[in-house]
């Protein structure tokens, strides 16, 4: 076929084909990297989930046990508790972060100097290592010597054992997450508010709309798609919580602050039960995928409304 084309077309199609090869050469390294370091381990997890495999024994051979690990997932009351804890943690921390983050973003949405300083300060908690934030708050919440209890004692409230009591331990862990990540919501929403069409808002004001109406009818609908995405990112991230819990409570007291990542970690690397950890990992990914799909549906619905 080639010889029938004139020289020019031939050269063009040749350079096009060269471009396609070049484009693939850009995509292949990252894809191969992710396939080997992320996708294969997940497959290996799925494979192990059908086996009993005690990985601390040097010569251990995986023993096929079918769906036994999955049956265990649905009867393990400790796992049910951690799943419930994770859900409570995610719902509580994310809803407070969204509400508070939006309010503070609206408060600092201007261009003044105070707003810029506030924004710079809000960045600090979110770039702090979660481990460092957890240890810092553990120090501050110490029931005997902590500064939080000291300040509360000035108000007449005495001796809360923050991390030793089941309810307050959960509240503390949620609070530290709120402390770290409300600023993230604030900064992203503030950036979104900056990008709003000002003339539209001004026109509404000229037409006699009250500021609250402007917020309710113009600002809020316009940033709703952004808020949906922020909600999704925060919600998914909340399910990955590990570092702060690890240093603050280690999941305790008892199982009070045990979350799914910490639970899987313990089953795999403390009790060395790779099969059971694998089964939980597979179900965890499936559940997260479902959540993501729901959010994606919701977002396209939000965008269609605009």
């Amino acid at each position: 076929m080639e010889h029938r084309l004139d020289g020019k077309t031939n050269r063009l199609s040749l350079s096009k084909r060269k471009d396609t090869w070049a484009a693939w050469s850009f995509l292949v390294p990252a894809s191969l990297f992710l396939f080997v370091t992320s996708f294969l381990p997940l497959l290996y997890s799925a494979y192990l989930s059908f086996f009993r495999f005690k990985m601390n024994l040097p010569k251990a051979v995986p023993l096929f046990i079918g769906l036994e690990n999955y049956a265990r997932v649905f009867t393990d009351s400790q796992l049910a508790t951690s799943a419930l804890n994770t859900l409570v943690f995610a719902l509580a921390s994310v809803s407070v972060e969204m509400a508070l983050g939006l309010m503070v973003a609206l408060a600092i949405s201007g261009d003044g100097k105070i707003n810029r300083v506030a924004l710079a300060i809000f960045i600090v908690p979110m770039i702090m290592a979660p481990v460092a934030a957890g240890t810092l708050w553990r120090m501050m919440l110490d029931s005997a010597t902590g500064v939080v209890n000291y300040l509360l004692s000035l108000l007449g409230i005495s001796g809360v054992s923050w991390l030793a009591n089941t309810t307050t331990a959960m509240v503390s862990v949620i609070f530290v997450n709120i402390w770290q990540l409300t600023p993230w919501v604030t900064v992203v929403v503030a950036a979104g508010l900056k990008a709003l069409p000002q003339d539209c808002i001004q026109a509404a004001l000229v037409d006699g709309a009250t500021p609250f109406q402007v917020f309710r009818r113009i600002v809020l609908p316009l940033i709703m798609p952004l808020l949906t995405v922020i909600l999704m990112i925060r919600f998914i991230d909340a399910f990955k919580v590990f570092d702060t819990v690890y240093v603050m409570t280690g999941g305790g007291p008892g199982l009070a602050t045990e979350m799914l990542p910490n639970f899987i970690y313990k089953q795999g690397l403390k009790y060395f039960d790779a099969g059971y950890a694998g089964a939980m990992a597979v179900l965890f990914v499936l559940a997260m995928t479902l959540v993501v799909l729901l959010f994606v549906k919701w977002r396209s619905w939000e965008e269609a409304k605009l």
């Binding site: 924004l119 960045i123 290592a129 481990v131 010597t145 600023p183 799914l260 990992a281």
Partner: protein, 291 residues
């Protein structure tokens, strides 16, 4: 005109003060700043307190005397210096690797002459990778790294950190590339510039802010990464977060050095995000838009 001045949404007063009143706005700012700043103040002062002061009860709110004793103790005892170097090397290499192979992959997905279907498949795959929790690969990765004798090496941590950050970088950079006018590449194509030439000479120079955003986000995430550091290190490659977590004992009284370590860990990322604040914030915002 007066109306515009009264309810100017771009004014320093902020949107909230327009309908909730100025006092509400001021109260909210003051309160949130206090809650954010007090713990940071407490961290820094405890790092600088004398031992009797950071152990004292009632706590010493404003230290009368400061000392660098905790910092000195840190560098003397805990192999802190080598951990600092390890963390820095792992973070730097991961950042470079991520930006290099992430931005190129993103460019192909955004503008490469490959089929639409292929783009969608890869795009969705990277999105799913971005979403799922790191813990689900932790145990198999541990088993494989142990079999390959890569536990306690910087190499294994660089590989895994790159693996977590790549999907994020790819999606972020796709957003930046898609914003560019397509006419730019068309003119390059007319001039006979091939794919590589167009990327390196036309596109890359004008997406520098995007690359910087991607680099900062990777740097911060890798610098702070804990889960895989704790799983894949035994002795030689303990990163700073692992060292800080190690301060937590049943006695738990080593607050001074613990605070000093956290301060030292916080300084580089604070400086980085402070000087490149615009790019950092833009990266966060773009990340949310591209979800």
């Amino acid at each position: 005109m007066s109306l515009k001045r009264k309810y100017d949404f771009t004014s320093p007063h902020g949107i909230l003060s327009n309908f909730a009143g100025r006092p509400v706005k001021v109260a909210l700012i003051v309160l949130s700043m206090t809650v954010v700043l007090f713990p940071l103040y407490w961290l820094v002062t405890n790092a600088l307190k004398l031992e009797r002061d950071y152990l004292a009860y009632p706590p010493v709110l404003i230290p009368k005397e400061i000392t660098f004793e905790s910092f000195v103790e840190l560098f003397e005892k805990n192999a802190f210096a080598s951990s600092l170097a390890t963390t820095l090397i792992i973070t730097a290499v991961t950042t470079l690797l991520c930006v290099a192979i992430g931005s190129t992959a993103a460019y192909t997905l955004a503008r490469g002459p490959i089929g639409r279907k292929a783009k969608n498949i890869f795009g969705v795959w990277f999105l799913v990778q971005k979403m799922y929790p790191a813990i689900v690969t932790a145990i198999p990765v541990f088993i494989v790294m142990r079999a390959l004798r890569l536990i306690d090496t910087r190499f294994s941590l660089i590989i895994m950190n790159t693996s977590f950050n790549l999907p994020m970088i790819i999606w972020l950079m796709m957003g930046f590339f898609e914003q560019l006018p397509i006419s730019l590449e068309e003119s390059g194509m007319l001039d006979g510039a091939g794919f590589y030439k167009r990327f390196f000479y036309l596109i890359l120079p004008i997406t520098k802010p995007g690359l910087i955003s991607a680099a900062i986000l990777t740097f911060v995430a890798t610098w702070n990464e804990f889960l895989f550091s704790v799983i894949l290190s035994i002795k030689r490659t303990k990163t700073l977060p692992v060292i800080i977590a190690g301060f937590i004992t049943d006695r738990g009284l080593d607050w001074g050095p613990m605070a000093a370590a956290s301060v030292l860990m916080l300084v580089p990322v604070v400086l980085l995000t402070f000087f490149l604040q615009k790019d950092f914030v833009q990266g966060l915002a773009m990340g949310a838009v591209k979800g």
